[in-house]
């Protein structure tokens, strides 16, 4: 009864993948992206309003409205992605910090409340300044949690690729702030606010650098997994090359003052971040196929 060395491939379970992939596809790609867009825009706008109210107060109100609209779409995608969307409220049965998904759900819920009030007050009349400020401050910790949980949710799993991605959370967090800066830059340019535009240009350039560093760390985490992929290696390499090239190009373009160039830069960053999220979310599916 010695183990045979030449086992028949057709019955070899070692050759087939052990773990099964969750049903997370395009809805989740856009969910991750929109999650980062809303939390990034809110956090950057809140920092601007709290630290430089003279330059950012008006812009912040527009930012909160956009962040709220993006959040609504994101929540809709989260519900639609469930196997049984009618049971979406079951997420609130328990508060379970050991589960990044539970923590994220509660952060999204708590974040949505002050953000909704901030938007409502824009339409029914401004609240006392202290109350407005309190709402902004109250929304910051849950918004930080919203930004934080997503990457940890993926890396705390048994899926090939994700399970090795120790820097995925850091990448998503740094790109969240970067996306927030770029969105607020566009808003500042739209309202022709020169000081805010200049500040957001510097902030965006700095966070593009930080984001390139975390992207590099994530790439090194994933490299062993990517090397094992045979069939779609070309696609994967193109994806990462494009992501790094986008970082380099946008870092140069972001300093150009022309609105048209800024629009192109923003477009590149938005498309690039969506592309990386798509590559990450589809990774286990690609490996197993």
């Amino acid at each position: 009864m010695q183990p045979a060395n030449q086992s028949t491939p057709s019955s070899d379970y070692a050759q087939s993948g052990i773990v099964k992939s969750p049903h997370w596809h395009w809805l989740v790609v856009f969910d991750v992206w929109l999650n980062n867009l809303t939390s990034g825009l809110f956090l950057v706008a809140a920092c601007g309003e709290l630290f430089r109210p003279a330059d950012f107060s008006q812009l912040a109100n527009t930012a909160y409205l956009i962040a709220w609209l993006v959040l609504l779409v994101d929540l809709l995608l989260l519900v639609l992605d469930l196997g049984d969307p009618k049971r979406f409220h079951h997420m609130l049965r328990v508060f379970k910090p050991s589960s990044p998904m539970s923590l994220g759900t509660w952060c999204l819920t708590v974040y949505s409340l002050p953000l909704t009030l901030l938007v409502v007050f824009q339409f029914i009349g401004s609240p006392p300044d202290g109350f407005h400020r309190a709402l902004v401050i109250a929304a910051i910790p849950p918004a930080f949690g919203v930004m934080l949980y997503k990457g940890v949710l993926f890396s705390t799993s048994s899926q090939p690729g994700w399970r090795d991605a120790r820097w995925l959370g850091s990448y998503l967090v740094s790109s969240t702030i970067m996306l927030g800066c770029i969105q607020l830059l566009l808003i500042a340019m739209f309202f022709d606010e020169p000081v805010a535009t200049r500040l957001m240009r510097s902030a965006a350039a700095t966070t593009i650098l930080l984001n390139a560093i975390t992207l590099g760390l994530l790439f090194f985490n994933l490299k062993p997994t990517l090397d094992e992929m045979q069939t779609s290696q070309g696609v994967v390499r193109v994806t990462w090359s494009v992501a790094f090239a986008t970082s380099a190009i946008t870092f140069v373009l972001i300093w150009q003052p022309q609105p048209f160039v800024s629009m192109i830069t923003a477009g590149l960053l938005l498309a690039g971040t969506l592309w990386v999220r798509s590559a990450v979310v589809w990774l286990p599916h690609r490996i197993q196929s």
Partner: protein, 303 residues
């Protein structure tokens, strides 16, 4: 029908309200009972699939259809939301010619093992009911829990099909059903256990390959069996999951194997992904603080 419309509408409203509120209602958790589990001795499994049939029958699981998988006689493929037991057939046949006259079989002395040109390994796979289960840690609804028998139980009336348990399980046990969108898996026949009955698969197993009972007794019995097999010259016999490793807890459904775990489609070194969660949160949080600090410095310096 027209006359009953208002009542129907009221009933609909009541049902709707009940559906919203019912998941939040809590009963008293049952008192802990003796921890139970499965011990599967793969050396005596004959691949009859009685366990699969018994499981499907008792739990009223639908058929998966029939298709040739190309894997020996294993035509049910894998564990799924509708197959909570799955018998694997591992063919390990060397590329040598069989003897011409296969009808002549030399009688063996008692206690000796035939020297064959190959072998089939068979294993009845099931949820491992991990002592520290990643699926239970992942579940955001509290649908997955450790019940009073220390088995991992999935409350199908609570699950909303988020699929995080599927992503978390390192053994590929759980899947989401297409017919209701919920995850389903082995309950270790919770309903039968509550009535002091043996789970259907263990009851049906004709060779006692699947053994059910108090988990401590099973572990003791399994260790004795390993010693027995090794004394017979089967030195490859060992237990998979009876003890916690550095990266994974004990399994309350564990196995006696005679080849590498991967030969049976089991991970050689399962890792609980929750071991990395704190570090991942720390790295992410630190990055967030650095990014916001950089933003604040720019807002402050460029004033």
């Amino acid at each position: 029908m027209t006359g009953s419309a208002p009542n129907d509408s009221q009933a609909d409203r009541t049902n709707w309200l009940e559906r919203i509120l019912a998941p939040f209602q809590r009963g008293t958790p049952p008192a802990p009972r003796t921890a139970t589990g499965f011990y599967t001795d793969t050396t005596v499994c004959i691949g009859c699939k009685a366990c699969e049939v018994a499981c499907k029958q008792w739990n009223q699981l639908p058929s998966d259809g029939f298709e040739w998988t190309g894997k020996s006689y294993d035509n049910t493929g894998e564990l799924s939301a509708t197959s909570w037991r799955h018998v694997k057939f591992v063919e390990q046949l060397v590329d040598t010619e069989l003897p011409q006259d296969t009808a002549i079989v030399e009688p063996l002395e008692a206690g000796t093992v035939p020297d064959l040109p190959g072998r089939w390994l068979m294993m009845s796979d099931v949820c491992k009911h991990c002592a520290t289960a990643p699926c239970e840690q992942a579940c955001p609804t509290g649908s997955l829990l450790q019940n009073e028998f220390e088995n991992i139980y999935l409350q199908s009336d609570i699950c909303n099909g988020c699929s995080y348990c599927i992503a978390a399980c390192p053994f590929g046990v759980i899947t989401r059903a297409t017919f209701d969108g919920h995850a389903h898996k082995c309950t270790l026949c919770y309903d039968r256990q509550r009535d002091d009955l043996t789970p259907a698969c263990a009851k049906a197993c004709p060779t006692e390959s699947i053994q059910f009972g108090p988990i401590d007794e099973l572990r003791e019995r399994a260790r004795e069996r390993v010693s027995e097999l090794q004394s017979l010259g089967i030195n490859d016999a060992y237990l998979y999951g009876d003890e916690a490793s550095e990266n994974y807890s004990q399994l309350n459904s564990f196995y006696l194997l005679i080849d590498e775990p991967s030969a049976y489609g089991l991970p050689d070194n399962p890792v609980n992904p929750w071991l990395f969660m704190k570090g991942d949160y720390l790295r992410s949080g630190l990055t967030g603080f650095i990014a916001i600090a950089m933003l604040l410095i720019i807002l402050w310096l460029e004033g």
